[in-house]
């Protein structure tokens, strides 16, 4: 007896039905993966970028292990009172149980500016393990042994197995060590059992803040304690994942256009499946499974590519990060989340086409009639609402609130994407008076506007992202130029300095200065300089400063800048002693400077003389016109001021100017001559240009748009093959076929480019609404490439590729 199927089988087909549908979807994916290369490639690139970004972010972030090891908290106890030190260490041990004590002695070494940290640390300590690693040799045992970091070894000229004198003790270097979590941490390691009295001690402990605060209550007097900061690398990695999510979402919007094409290509087969009794859920599942398959392939491929790229570049990242990096110490969970996200976004991208196809009447699907587009008014309202919300968020962001910028950008992008399909009928309506092939192509775009609209949305997105980068980088460059003026120097100018720019000017003998002057004259002759202006700074001769980082001592150079306030840093500028050449250079030639004036400067606002023993000395200032160059001496002190304060002029360099732009060869010669005499040369620095970025973005956007066109134009023309058959039958020449394809591609590209650029400008205007001047710097060439070049390229490619009669003339190409 046959069991009643109504009772023995689930109403919707259950798991067996879903398995069958997914099996078919996967088979179709294997058959048609080439038609989905664009979506697969985009997602793969996005996933590989995300994987690499996550790996790099995770490993670049400085780890608190460098300071805390495995501990949660640390105490810093001074060693100036040995009894108190011992008492506090004992109290910590009693309170926390296990502690790890690291002693420090900061020992001066002749010839070195910075003292060497002689560290007494137990390599087998409870918490300090991650702070210490042996690179060569062994750890020191006994009072006469030491291990050093490579930096200390270089500074002390010590070799493994060789002697070194440190802390008034002759020791044998038995090992090379490092702090793997901070390769810049330079120290010498001694055996804690035989170390001298420490100057300070770090005590590593485990326990939360409350426990530490409770311990604090038991201690009299000050106690320096630090808690391990929250896991910053986790935070950074999550931020990177958030960025990757946005990237994947944008890519999935382009992928969605590809899935729309795919859905329409499979329309008849899906109609057949529905005729067999598949439910709408089953129909949706076919495309969702395809989307998931694309996501899985992209996730696996992209992750593999990202990890390989990471492995190749990890060495460079290690150098840049300054700490050891485990090649496979990666945020696997986050990377896994990124992979899942890729699958989810690809599946989500397939959702809308799947929904539309599942709702298509079966009879329409069987005859491959495209779905009826949603009412234009409803779409327009949604687009307007999204655009308004997006632009409002961007305006409110003031260009600085990341959350509002992301929200606003996504809203604006979605708004533009929804607007895109609505513009197709408008374009088609304007076809009157055009040649018949053009009219027909535009009419076909309107007839098949669901798939044309999806393609247009993807092209708009590609062009919009390109335009946003092009216009945004141009605006950023404009702002930078406003801040930086014309650059440091003109290309005909050189600044020759004696040594490095320093706030402390060493004393030099007349003979030394004469030699430097002679070398400068040689340089001037070599480069053909017509102007040589000596540069003197005002120095406080009565005061001697040690100089920075162990450099030779000298007299402090008087500077000018905003008055220093307590607890705030200030920016100071050097003051050069007035001479006719400098006045001429600053556009003040022949200016009579009255005796009461202290300083001539282009700087504005409240100014004080800085780097002098006295505080709050306000000079009498006279304004100089701005030259536009940031490297020129633009703050001058008068001889009268020198006399008043008892300061002395000190030669610091020369300004050279030629009547021609200096060649690379002249600059190289000048640098060689200067280096030979201990001089430094400053020449015009090339101002950073984002032109390469703009060009790259334009090319990438164009390629993306052309890829979308390649996958859609053929289908749209294939749909209209009946018209083409009719045209061919009525004697239309090959030119008509070419015109049809070229017009279809060109019109979509043109609309997409215009919408993309308009959307980009809208979004940027929203974000920069307080100062729209930067948007006035229009990158004409790049925008022309997007709005004119891309459509021309698309039309040209369409014209060339439409030369052969398409197979669809002979038979339909739908499955």
């Amino acid at each position: 007896m046959t069991p009643d199927p109504d009772r023995s089988r689930p109403a919707g087909g259950g798991l067996a039905a879903r398995r069958a549908v997914v099996r078919w979807a996967v088979r179709l994916f294997r058959r048609e993966w080439r038609q989905q290369l664009l979506a697969i490639a985009l997602l793969t690139v996005a996933v590989s970028g995300a994987t690499f970004g996550l790996a790099a972010t995770w490993n670049l972030a400085a780890s608190s292990d460098a300071t805390f090891g495995r501990a949660d908290q640390l105490l810093r106890i001074p060693g100036d009172d040995p009894t108190a030190l011992d008492g506090r260490v004992a109290a910590a041990r009693a309170w926390f149980g296990t502690v790890d004590v690291i002693g420090h002695r900061h020992v001066s070494v002749p010839g070195l500016f910075d003292p060497v940290d002689v560290r007494a640390q137990d390599p087998a300590g409870a918490y300090g393990g991650p702070m210490l690693a042996l690179r060569q040799g062994r750890y020191p045992t006994g009072p006469a042994e030491v291990a050093v970091t490579d930096g200390v070894a270089r500074a002390l000229r010590a070799d493994l197995g060789g002697p070194v004198r440190l802390d008034d003790t002759d020791r044998l270097v038995v090992g090379v060590v490092e702090n793997p979590a901070d390769l810049h941490d330079e120290f010498a390691l001694t055996d804690p059992a035989h170390a001298g009295r420490p100057q300070s001690v770090t005590v590593l402990v485990a326990g939360d803040r409350d426990r530490m605060e409770a311990f604090r209550q038991t201690i009299d007097g000050p106690l320096v304690r630090e808690a391990r900061p929250t896991a910053e690398r986790t935070t950074l990695t999550i931020a990177a994942l958030a960025l990757a999510t946005i990237g994947l979402l944008l890519v999935s919007l382009v992928a969605a256009a590809g899935f729309v094409v795919l859905a329409h290509r499979r329309l008849r087969q899906l109609g057949m499946l529905a005729a067999m009794g598949a439910t709408r859920r089953h129909l949706r599942l076919v495309l969702l499974a395809n989307g998931a398959a694309v996501g899985v392939v992209a996730a696996l491929g992209g992750t593999a590519v990202g990890i390989i790229a990471w492995l190749i570049t990890a060495g460079f990242v290690e150098t840049a990060a300054g700490h050891r990096i485990g090649r496979f110490d990666l945020p696997w969970l986050t990377i896994g989340a990124g992979m899942l996200l890729a699958v989810a976004t690809a599946t989500a991208a397939a959702w809308w086409p799947a929904r539309a196809v599942a709702r298509t009447p079966i009879v329409n699907a069987l005859s491959a009639r495209p779905p009826i587009p949603p009412p234009a008014r409803r779409t327009a309202v949604a687009a307007a609402a999204l655009l308004a919300a997006g632009l409002t968020a961007l305006v409110l962001s003031d260009g600085s609130n990341p959350l509002l910028i992301v929200t606003g950008s996504v809203g604006t992008v979605l708004g533009v994407l929804l607007v895109s399909p609505l513009t197709i009928p408008a374009l088609a309506a304007a076809r009157g008076g055009l040649p018949v092939a053009v009219r027909l192509a535009l009419a076909d775009l309107a007839r098949y506007r669901v798939r044309a609209g999806a393609a247009l949305a993807a092209i708009s997105l590609a062009a919009g992202l390109s335009a946003a980068i092009v216009v945004g980088s141009s605006a950023a460059e404009y702002r930078t130029q406003q801040a930086a003026g014309l650059g440091n120097l003109a290309d005909s100018q050189l600044l020759i300095r004696i040594g490095q720019p320093e706030p402390v000017i060493p004393e030099r003998t007349a003979a030394e200065l004469a030699a430097l002057q002679a070398q400068t004259d040689t340089i001037a002759t070599t480069v053909g300089a017509t102007t040589v202006i000596p540069l003197d700074m005002a120095v406080v001769a009565s005061y001697t400063d040690l100089g920075r980082e162990g450099r030779s001592s000298g007299h402090p150079a008087v500077e000018i800048g905003p008055p220093a306030a307590a607890g705030r840093s200030t920016t100071s500028h050097p003051l050069y002693v007035v001479n006719p050449g400098l006045l001429r250079l600053n556009g003040a030639a022949g200016t009579a400077v009255d005796a009461g004036t202290d300083v001539l400067t282009t700087r504005t606002g409240e100014l004080a003389l800085l780097n002098i023993p006295a505080r709050g000395v306000r000079p009498t200032v006279r304004a100089l016109p701005r030259s536009g160059y940031t490297g020129l001496p633009d703050s001058l002190i008068t001889p009268a001021a020198l006399d008043r304060h008892g300061w002395q002029p000190a030669r610091v360099g020369w300004f050279l100017a030629a009547d021609h732009a200096l060649t690379d060869a002249q600059l190289a010669t000048a640098q060689d001559l200067a280096a030979a005499a201990g001089l430094t040369v400053e020449s015009r620095r090339e101002q950073s240009s984002l032109t390469a970025l703009r060009t790259g973005a334009t090319i990438a956007g164009a390629l993306l748009a052309l890829g979308v066109l390649a996958t859609t134009v053929g289908l749209i023309r294939g749909e209209a093959s009946a018209d083409l058959r009719t045209l061919t039958a009525t004697g239309a020449p090959r030119r008509v076929r070419r015109t049809l394809t070229a017009t279809t591609a060109g019109a979509l590209a043109l609309l997409g480019a215009v919408l993309g650029v308009a959307g980009a400008y809208l979004a940027l205007a929203g974000a920069l609404h307080r100062d729209l001047d930067p948007l006035g710097a229009v990158p004409v060439a790049h925008l022309a490439a997007i709005t004119a070049g891309l459509p021309s390229l698309a039309a040209g490619a369409g014209w060339l590729l439409a030369g052969r009669p398409p197979p669809s003339l002979a038979r339909r190409l739908l499955d």
């Binding site: 089988r9 087909g13 067996a16 039905a17 087969q269 057949m272 067999m276």
Partner: protein, 241 residues
Amino acid sequence: MSVVLSLRQVSKVHGSGGAAVHALRAVDLDVVAGELVAVMGPSGSGKSTLLTIAGTLEEPTTGQVTVCGSDLSTLSADATARLRRRSLGFVFQDLNLLAGLSAVENVALPLELDGMSARPARAAALQVLDELGLTDRAGHYPDDLSGGERQRVAIARAVVGERQLLLADEPTGALDAANGEAVLRMLRAACKRGIAGVMVTHDAQLASWADRVIFIRDGRVVDQTAPSAGPEALLASDPTP
């Protein structure tokens, strides 16, 4: 004999207002189990619309359609889909098989969609293919099958399981005479096993295989007649006096 398909005063109008097109006008039709009905008429007469309405692929504008005892107007979308996969089988002129699935997988698909697990569904599909002489083509994909083989596999899929109504839209339209006859013979055999069949054709020769022929013009059933004894009748007749 039980009525498998019943149409009562069924009309179908496409579009509205001045653009309205009456595809069917007040059509009445009953098809009983084991009966093969041919629907003939000129292009645009409403033949295919009649078939799609009978097959639940679209709804009539007015009128009542009953398939296997179920009034379609009372069924939900899911229940209608279930009716299609359990009781109805379709054979179209072309594009009958799903690319990417082998012949046996195509035949098993309606059963799997209905919840039967893959193994028994495959066994049932193989049995039907065997009955239709297609065992050796079971593992082949549609691209590897000839047009006639594809239509025969489509018929296998349309009758697999416990189907009660087989709907065929120009099933031999893309076939040569020999393959066309083979397909018709299969349809006829299926009906002999108790399945009700409705076949759209505009070929009188093929219609002669049917038990009854309905003529449609401008959406109306203008004539309905049993065909004269055709080749099938001659073949089927008992030679003994």
